[in-house]
Symmetry: C2
Subunit: 104 residues, 2 copies
Amino acid sequence: MSGDSIALGPGKVDLLESIDQAGSISEAARQGNISYRRAWDMVDTMNQCFNKPLVESVTGGKGGGGAALTSLGKKVVQIYRNMETKASMATQEEWKSLQNHLKK
Amino acid sequence: MSGDSIALGPGKVDLLESIDQAGSISEAARQGNISYRRAWDMVDTMNQCFNKPLVESVTGGKGGGGAALTSLGKKVVQIYRNMETKASMATQEEWKSLQNHLKK
């Protein structure tokens, strides 16, 4: 959190990875089944919450420009995925216990 | 997850704790600022996803009946809160790193 905006979460990190692979916000939005407007708002929120942008626009190239992750953007994705892995590893016992109480 | 329903999450665990304290679904819904219908649906989903109910109705008593957590309900709350604590402890380094990149 930064102020009232949610700086980062699973949806935003998925979007960052899609932008990294697709090279544009619109293509990433399409892949994630969200509107361009929503994807753009998510990127805008992240860029405003962090002290440097996570996504930057790229001009030129074959597609006539698009979007790419900045070095901070790539770093944030990596940190988040590390968090997920560590959290998952630390809670395996509890996960198994919960699973055992769910209907098969 | 159990089938297509989400068996448990932060909102559902908060609701379970409220029911445990308030002794009724309606009062717990009021405290959580959600409708009675929504709270009831969340309880119904949990009760259907787990192999035994997490919430049961209580008859009689001063208020003329209400709801209470079953022993499994209490156990599930405890497991979930343990998961949160362990996940949080395991990811402190990453949290700090992310915080350092957020606008102050």
